[in-house]
């Protein structure tokens, strides 16, 4: 067992699960989506991105790009939240934020699938 692999897998899976936790619930109900969960998802997603830096293999490159896609959407959601809260109807703002995080969830999902497929193809 390799500690580095454990940490790597942990952060990638955690990024997806936190993202999913934030995403689940009624899309226009602000009480179903907590700000700290989005915050945690962003932080973990950023850490996962940095962990993927410098891998020159093809799978490594795709993993990094999915992570960057997830970061982009999550940060866009956070910026929307910070900029528009109090300025517009709360339920429609929630729809924007949650749909963006839904996009990020897809990216994280692809990332996890890649991780699993790479693990399965590992012969040792």
């Amino acid at each position: 067992m390799n500690l580095e692999k454990v940490v790597f897998g942990f952060f990638i899976v955690l990024a997806m699960t936190l993202n999913f936790g934030f995403f689940i619930g009624d899309i226009d109900n602000p009480t179903h989506h907590h700000v700290y969960e989005l915050y945690a998802a962003i932080i973990v997603s950023l850490i996962a991105t940095v962990l993927k830096f410098g891998d020159r293999t093809h799978v490594g490159a795709i993993l990094l790009s999915t992570s960057l896609a997830a970061d982009l959407q999550l940060i866009a959601a956070a910026i929307l939240w910070a900029a528009l809260s109090g300025k517009m109807d709360e339920s429609s703002l929630t729809v924007y934020i949650v749909s963006l995080s839904g996009g990020a969830l897809m990216a994280n999902f692809v990332s996890v699938i890649l991780l699993i497929s790479e693990t399965i193809s590992q012969r040792r």
Partner: protein, 563 residues
């Protein structure tokens, strides 16, 4: 830049994660700390506000307590955050600076920059696989002629010299071993605009390795290689090296040319020198008996060529068994005794051709004392002895670097020039003298530009258009000044090649045909004026018959109507 970026990112992984984690903890803590707003209500910072405060604190900018004065709990957390975030921040900056100074990374960046600048070259270029004395001369001359070059050199001080030098065009350079194929690829061996590789290091093995590598990677690419040993030269020729340059053979050839036909020699030197330079008037080597000191590669070549011109020689050699000399006087030639034994008083010339500069100078100084009328040919080996040789001022100083550079230039400027010089050697001395006086009267005393023009649609659209319309364009029309058709441009057509049949110094009344290649020689101003004639149909028509053809639709219609 790709690989360098990833190398940096990989090394920055730890500091980046440290920053993310410390920021995350500080931000979340600050947003959880209870505060008081301006109406004494319980107030929590939003995550965005907390992120803002932590960002300016961690980067040591410090705007103060925004938007309301902090509560005790918030100040307590901020105190913790300051130490917790500022330290990772400086650690990361320190790492970035260390990384930028890392020699490995710098090398990767320099290599990457070189590869990119070669890849983005939009003009034809040559690769020089060294930047020694002859290569630097060559690079300077090519740069003057506006031909791009790329340099690979294994010694950093020579690269520095190149970077400090004054050039018209940027010369991409890399400090690397040219023997490694990957470096040749970086220098553009596979580049579609690469027109040749020149390898002129003083190590024959390196030249051989480069020539082999280039011929394997891109067989169609011309290779010019320097080779002093016969076995290496034969080896190079065996796999198709296009031009093998041996400075000693070349010098012997040129010496023979001087004895035999001085005019031809001057023409040769003149057309392959750096434009704008002035050539010193060359000496005429006397006929008679010569004394040759040193029977190495240089001496052998000199003796062979002098004997071909029916000049008898006396050879002085210190180690006859090593050099395979069967009829020679034993000694180094530095003592008067050996020279007297060679009957120096009755000789007309002396050649000091050993591989030791100091010995060579000693030989000629001793010989000069014995017979002040001697014609002196001296071989210079090391560039740093330049001052000594200048002081002595021999009739001919043989500089391998100059000879190599000239020979390369003849092949690189245009294949036509090399062909022209080859043909000139078969002409008489009188012919060459006549051509020189013609050139001097038109072009002037300084070294002219030499360039080739092909009459085809891409290079001379105006000429091809007129030819296709049935008009006749003569060579004379291309020598007319576009500003005043009565005057002549200062250029001379040296050769016209039609269907690979060369015509030396064609008459100006020669009619042009599509597909002709013309070698011109002339002043830089003429070289820059010529494209106007080649590209602009209106001006060319005016040159031919003095009639301005109407350009616009209305004027053309009016002209037809009047007629």
């Amino acid at each position: 830049m790709n690989s360098v970026l990833f190398l940096m990112l990989r090394r920055l992984r730890r500091p980046l994660i440290l920053i993310i984690v410390s920021f995350a903890i500080s931000v979340i803590g600050l947003s959880l700390m209870p505060g008081v707003d301006d109406k004494d209500q319980l107030w929590h910072m939003s995550i965005f506000e907390a992120f803002y405060v932590i960002s300016y604190t961690a980067t040591t900018i410090g705007f103060g307590e925004i938007p309301y004065p902090f509560s005790q709990a918030q100040r307590l957390w901020m105190t913790f955050s300051i130490y917790f975030t500022v330290i990772p921040w400086f650690y990361a900056i320190g790492r970035i600076i260390t990384l930028l100074q890392d020699p490995g990374l710098r090398l990767a960046m320099v290599t990457e920059r070189f590869t990119n600048s070669v890849r983005s070259l939009q003009e034809p270029f040559y690769i020089l696989c060294s930047y020694g004395e002859s290569a630097s001369l060559l690079a300077k001359a090519l740069d003057e002629k506006d031909i791009r070059v790329v340099v690979i050199e294994s010694q950093q001080d020579r690269i520095n010299e190149l970077e400090l030098g004054n050039t018209y065009n940027v010369i991409p350079n890399l400090c690397a071993d040219a023997k490694l194929p990957e470096n040749l690829v970086r220098a553009g061996v596979h580049h579609p605009l690469c027109c040749g590789v020149v390898t002129l290091t003083d190590d024959d093995e390196v030249n051989l390795a480069v020539a082999v590598a280039v011929k394997l990677m891109n067989p169609s690419l011309p290779v010019l290689a320097r080779a002093e040993r016969d076995d290496i030269a034969a080896n190079m020729a065996s796999f198709g090296t296009d031009h093998i340059i041996n400075p000693y053979t070349l010098f012997g050839d040129q010496l023979a040319m001087r004895v035999h036909a001085l005019g031809t020699y001057i023409l040769h030197e003149w057309l392959t020198d750096t434009p704008g330079d002035k050539l010193p008037p060359p000496e005429y080597p006397p006929l008679g008996r010569w004394v040759v000191c040193g029977y190495g590669r240089f001496g052998k070549s000199v003796v062979k060529n002098l004997e071909r011109e029916h000049i008898s020689t006396t050879i002085i050699e210190a180690a006859p068994e090593l050099t395979g000399c069967n009829k020679c006087i034993l000694g180094s030639g530095t003592e008067a005794k050996t020279l007297l034994e060679a009957d120096i008083n009755n000789a007309v010339g002396i050649v000091a051709g050993t591989d030791n500069d100091i010995n060579n100078l000693s030989i000629v100084m001793t010989a000069f004392e014995l017979n002040p009328k001697l014609f002196v040919v001296i071989r210079k080996n090391k560039h740093h002895n330049n001052a000594l040789f200048k002081q002595f001022n021999a009739d001919i100083t043989m500089q391998p670097t100059d000879i190599i550079a000239h020979e390369c230039l003849a092949h690189m400027i245009s294949p036509l020039l090399a062909q022209f010089l080859e043909l000139v050697r078969n002409q008489t001395n009188e012919w060459a003298n006549q051509l020189i006086s013609q050139l001097v009267s038109i072009v002037g005393e300084s070294v002219p530009e030499t360039w080739a023009v092909t009459i085809n649609h891409a290079n001379a659209p105006a000429v091809t258009e007129l030819l296709n319309n049935g008009a006749s364009v003569s060579l004379e029309n291309l020598t007319q000044d576009p500003l005043n058709r009565e005057q002549r441009l200062s250029l001379v057509p040296l050769m016209l090649s039609r269907n690979n049949q060369p015509l030396l110094v064609p008459d100006t009344s020669t009619k042009l045909m599509a597909g002709d290649c013309i070698l011109f020689c002339g002043r830089p101003s003429a070289k820059s004026a010529l494209p106007t004639l080649l590209n602009n149909t209106k001006i060319l028509t005016y040159m031919i018959n003095g009639v301005e053809i109407p350009d616009s639709l209305v004027w053309r219609w009016l002209k037809n109507w009047v007629n």
